[in-house]
Every structure is written in C-alpha cells, then in structure tokens.
C-alpha cells in the first residue's frame, strides 16, 4: 500500500497534446476518481501510472519512490481493464494465479491466495471455467480477482463497470465500495459516469480535454464548482445556467436578465463585477414551484417516483426544477418557480466568483 503523487505530467501523441500539466495527489488508502467526458485522457493517465505508456514530462511517485522510469513490473500496481482483458487460454484459476506464478511463488501459497480472493469475490464455483464461459459480470469479478490476489501497492480501474447493465452496475458499485473498505488499498478509478464518481470517491479529479478542471471531494465539486464545465458536468438533471448582468439596488446586489431579477443579498465581494456580464447557475433542487421570479409554462413533467422533474419554458430559456412526488399540474400549465435556498452559483467568464 502506498500513496500516489503526480506532478506536471504532460503527454502528446504526435502533434496532439493529450495531457497538460496534470498534477494531483492520492493519499494512502484513498479512493480517487478520474472523471471526465470520453476522450479527455483518463485512460492515458492510468496507463502512464501503470507504466504501460511513457509520459513526455512530469514525475510519478508511488509511496516516496519516483517510478517514472520503472517497468510496470517494478511499479507493482494492478490494473483492471475496461474490457477485462482476461487471458482466454487460461481458466479462471490460472488467470488469477498468473501474476503469482510469474513472481515464482510456491504452489501452496498461490493456491491459498487465489482461493481467498475467489471467496471474497464469490467466484469459487467458476475457478475451472474459461473466460468465454462467463457472463459479463462474472468476467468483471475475475478481472478484479486477478488484481487483488497480487496485493499491489495501488489499484487502477479503467471504467470497470461500463460494460455492465444498469442493475449489475449498481450491485457491483456497492461491492467495490465494500472491497475498498476491506482492503484499504489506494485506488485510482476512471469513469465518465458521475453517479459512480459521486458515490464511490473520496476524491474526484475532474478532467476535460486533458486539463484538470477541479480536484476535491464529491460534495465540494457539487456545492462549489470552480468553473462552468464542472458545474454542468456534475449533477443530474443539469444545472440551470442563465446569462445576465450584475446590478445593484441601494446596498443590495441583484442579478438581472431581462425581466428576471434575482436577489443576491446573501453574497458579498461582488463589487468589482458590478455592471459586468455574469452567468448564474441554479441547481434544479434549489428551485420549487411557488411564487417567485421565474414565470413560465410546464413543458414536460417527469414523475420518477421519489420526485418529479419539471421542465419549464421561460423567457430565459428552459429551466429545470424539482418538485415533490405528489406534484399535480400538467403540461401546458402556467407555473412560477421560487428559489428554495439562496445558494446560487455565479460565474464570470466561465470561472466561479
């Protein structure tokens, strides 16, 4: 077990710069999520940590050892691939035992470790099967099993759940969380699914186009997104964004967009943005049907059981709000929305203020 530290990593393939100035730290035993849209370089970071690819610039520390120039073997990390990558000519047992055999462990030791991991993952009945005789979820477990028998310093997961159906994914998610609690090993987990990121992670590193957008615990990214990308990427349904101007009335700051006026009296330090164009971000759950500044008509009403999602057409564009599950009104009805809490997000030129 060990922590991980990456400093000023840079990587390009040919003329395309894929990663720029990537720096983050994962402390010992932490569950760190690399989150970002497809093609933003998540897999590339993981491969560089594992030693499968070399970076152009930057340093990687595992524990307090610099590993940038070491082979994957010397780094002692385990990786679970996006598409499992089980060895098709070996059965489950051999797949899991492979790395231990390479390490030249004794037969009895290997057997003990493999059986222990199989028990932990509940795949003891599958040990004699070939990968092609397994279902997707079972292959997934074997791939994880192959990683945990090694007792590595760091686990790397590359979208391990992306090939599973929704139900299996949520079960496996819980199991992964349980596994992490049990093993306590440092984990770096790549995903583009923000639900996975929010539920599993101790810390999220959010990337876009090869640049880190924000690092922090899930709640921090949700509650105070550092820029517009973070605000829109995290949270579902998406945050409502409205462009307008920062105005003042007596000693109160106001946000004004056409006829819409939002009171920002709870905020301070806005003086230097007075009269400038800003963007306001309001999470759907901060809005509720009541007398308030937003007027419009109901476009779509989604009853999803625990709550109701309202899509409201206003002069400021479509606004999404959440209502209680017993919300009665129908499409086409006039509605007014009010702020439930004063916590709105303000952005100037895309950056949080």
């Amino acid at each position: 077990m060990a922590g991980l530290k990456i400093t000023t990593l840079k990587k390009s393939f040919g003329r395309n710069t894929i990663l720029q100035n990537i720096s983050f730290e994962v402390s010992d035993g932490e569950f760190c999520i690399l989150l970002g849209p497809s093609g933003c370089g998540k897999t590339t970071i993981l491969r560089i940590i594992a030693g499968l690819d070399q970076c152009d610039k930057g340093e990687i520390f595992i524990g307090d050892r610099e590993v940038s120039n070491l082979t994957p073997k010397e780094r002692d990390v385990a990786m679970v691939f996006q598409n499992y990558a089980l060895y098709p000519h070996m059965n489950v047992y051999e797949n899991m035992a492979f790395s231990l055999k390479i390490k030249k462990l004794s037969k009895t030791k290997i057997d003990k470790k493999v059986r222990k991991a199989a028990k932990l993952l509940d795949i003891e009945d599958l040990l004699d099967r070939k990968p092609r005789e397994l279902s997707g979820g079972q292959r997934q477990r074997v791939a994880i099993g192959r990683a945990i028998v090694r007792n590595p310093r760091i686990f790397l997961f590359d979208e391990p759940l992306s090939n599973l159906d929704a139900r299996l994914r949520s079960t496996m998610r819980v199991e992964l969380a349980r596994l992490h609690q049990k093993l306590g090993t440092t984990m770096v987990y790549v995903t583009h699914d923000q639900v996975e990121a929010m539920t599993l992670g101790d810390k999220i590193v959010l990337l876009d186009k090869g640049v880190i957008q924000q690092i922090g615990p899930p709640q921090k990214l949700y509650k105070s997104p550092s820029n517009l990308f973070v605000a829109t990427f995290i949270g579902g349904p998406q945050i409502n964004l409205i462009e307008g101007v920062l105005d003042a009335d007596k000693n109160k700051f106001l946000f004004r967009a056409g006829s819409l006026i939002i009171d920002l009296s709870s905020r301070s330090g806005l003086k230097k943005y007075l009269g400038l164009k800003v963007t306001i971000g309001i999470r759907p759950e901060s809005l509720m049907p009541a007398d308030g500044p937003f007027l419009g008509s109901l476009e779509v009403v989604e009853h999803i059981g625990s709550e109701t999602i309202l899509y409201v057409k206003t002069v400021n564009g479509r606004i999404i709000a959440k209502a209680s599950p017993i919300f009665q009104r129908k499409t086409g009805d006039k509605i007014s929305l009010a702020l439930r809490t004063p916590d709105v997000h303000l952005f100037y030129k895309g950056i949080r203020i």
């Binding site: 499968l52 073997k73 996006q82 990558a85 089980l86 060895y87 092609r132």
Partner: protein
Amino acid sequence: MNAAIRCELRVARCGFKKIMMKLSKLIFCGVTFVIVFMSLLPFIWFVNTSLKTQAEVTAIPPTLAPSGSLHFYHSAIVKYDLLHYVKNSAIVAGATTFITLFISILSAYVLARLRLKYKGLIMGSLLLVSMFPQISIAGPVWKIMQSLGWLNSYQGLIIPYVTLTLPLGVWILTIFFKELPKELEDAARIDGCNRIQTLYKIVVPLAAPGIFTAAILVFIYAWNEFFFALLIMTQRKFQTLPIGIALFQGQYTLPWGEIAAASTVATVPLVLLVFLFQKRIVRGLSAGAVKG
C-alpha cells in the same frame, strides 16, 4: 374462389422455391465432389498402384482393385533404401520448420507491435523477396553454398529453405499477432511479464492457430521441394525424398510400383499432419478475452 386460386398459386410457388433450393444444394454438392475427386485422383491412383502386385501393375486391361499386397513397400525399403530418404527429408523439413518459425515469431511480433519506422517498407520487401522465381536465385545460392563448403550437407539445404519460407511465416504471423487484443499484452506486463515472457506465455498460445498454419505450410514446402534439393544434394547420403524417388528410375528400369509406394509414404505424413492439426487451425480461440 379468387382467394383459393391465389392460395394454390402460393403453394405452388412455395413448392417451386423448395425444389430450387434442393436443386442448388445438389449442384453445389456435385461440383464440390467433382473438384475433390479431381484433386484426389493422382493420390488415389498411386496409392492404388502401390498396393498391387508386379503382375497387376503391367496387366492389360489394367486391374482396378489392387490385391492389397505390400510387396512394393517392402522392395522400396529394402532395394531402394526408402527410409534413408525419409530420414533426410524429416531432418531437413523439421529443422527448416523449427528455425523458420522461431525467427518468424520474433520478427512478426516486432512488426506487429513495436512502433517502427518503415514498417510498410519492410513488409513490402518481404513480399517482394518471396516473389523471386527460384531459378533466378539458384545460381547464387549454389555458389554461396559451394564457397561455404556446404554442398551436400543438411545446413546447405536448410538455410536456403529457411530463407525462402521466412517471408511466408513472417507474413502469416504478423497478421495473426496484429489481430490479438492488445490489452492482453498490457495485462501481462502489469502482471509482471517482460516482453519475452509476454510473447511466449500469452501471444504464442493465443496465436497457436496461426503458428500451426505457418508451420504446416513451411513443412510442406520443405518436404516437397525438388529444385534446390537436386542442385545442392548430389550425394545419396544427403538426398531428400523427392530426389530419392526421382532417382529410383534407372537407365533401363522404371520401378513403377516402388515409386508409387514411396510416393504414398511421402504423402501420408503430410495428410496426417493436416488432419491432426485441423482442429487447432480453427479460429476463435481468443473469444471471451475481451468484451464483444
């Protein structure tokens, strides 16, 4: 009324379709049978001849069914020293296959996986080399072997054979290696393998169908090759089967039956080889490795 007629028409059309389908199947089977029969005819003919007696071989009209005598096999072995040639062929073809495959596996892996400049050029020139007509390189090869003093030695034939079969081996294996999922090799490296271990523990087992295919083709080539063998092996001691059989024929004798028996002995191992490994040549071994 109308409906009934239409219905009947439809039934008739259905029947017609069925008949056509059966017919096309029949034609397909027939054509396949004819092709197979034609390619097997020489083989059937000399196997048949080899099982006759001396009298049956020269009988007019020819006897179709042989009496099943093994006389010619006996005499080919005793009088013409057939097994000596079999041994030479086995040594030459076996060594050629082994060396060609060993080199092919290593170079094909490099060509398939490592980032190299001029990869296309290398592959192209391999193809080009394999297209040289044998006759155009026969002279230089003979000269080289002569100056090395390797005329009439096993290596004198094995080395030209390896050279000639390498392009084929490298091509087949490069294509096979390229098709294997890359993640498996990444997984192996994470599991602690170095490049060589990855190659022989993961890549080679998975490419087994390709390796067997290449091995059989190379073996067949080396086993059957006549031209270079004739040039380089002038002493009986090192001659291979094709040369040996060709030399059964004396100035005044044409030992028809013995030649047929020897040809059978020369062909059967190849047929067996292909049958034995047919199952291994089927693809799809890598199914289940990765999703999809």
